[in-house]
Symmetry: C2
Subunit: 117 residues, 2 copies
DNA sequence: TATGTATATTTAATTTTCTTATATATATAA
DNA sequence: TTATATATATAAGAAAATTAAATATACATA
């Protein structure tokens, strides 16, 4: 998946976004959801995702509660108030970044008048 | 600059894009151009940029030629044939990634019917 | 019953990537 | 002569992600 190269730096923001849409989610679910929403393009690997979830919890952005579902352990995460505010900020920053990069990528051939000479 | 967080993984593609628009550019120029095109939002630091340029050269994506301009040394980089092909691939991949992420970020509140209950 | 697949989390070792800092050198304006 | 801009190089360290392995349950199927 080519997307894996570009995902770097955006995982935290994607987690914040998904959790701002759903009251609580667990790690495996977050990874599956991103995979689904991206048409299998983006795969949040567990080795990256879980440590990020712990870090966000330690930063006070997420709260966690363990549950036993079908006899299997699940750890649900929810946004704290701070996490909710951070979600707005980070999502907006990522949107702006995306628009900026898109502007660079899709711009009309800026310099062709110069180097076409 | 918030963009610094998201730039990870995209620098190489931005370099390929700029060099596909202009026959030759030098490191300082690439950094300045990205800064300008992004309205000062994206700053390609030299500590990141120069090693990437060397790596791309060693991978056969770029060719380099040193020049003395105004008695100051400059190292111009150009896309090789391989670099030109890679530029098309990477730019297209980044565009797709961006659309995918934008789809996740801007989607209508998918789950509000669920967690609003 | 054994085997494989899906679900679910944890974490260590390694690698990749970027930041920060420093060094060097010239040109130019104040 | 001091500061700012131009221009490259590179080392040390931090941050982030990959890869891999371990653990455990549920369920379908051969």
């Amino acid at each position: 998946m080519a997307a894996q190269e570009f995902i770097k730096g955006t995982i935290k923001t994607l987690v914040l976004k998904l959790l701002s849409e759903k009251r609580k989610m667990y790690g495996y679910e977050i990874s599956s959801k991103v995979k689904e929403l991206s048409n299998e393009e983006i795969q949040l690997t567990y080795g990256a995702l879980y440590p990020i979830l712990y870090k966000m919890e330690s930063e006070g952005l997420l709260s966690a509660e363990s549950e036993l579902v079908d006899n299997r352990a699940r750890k649900y995460y929810s946004l704290t108030k701070k996490g909710n505010e951070m979600a707005k900020v980070k999502v907006s920053e990522l949107e702006q970044f995306i628009d900026t990069v898109k502007g660079i990528l899709l711009a009309p051939k800026r310099s062709f008048e110069i180097w076409g000479r």
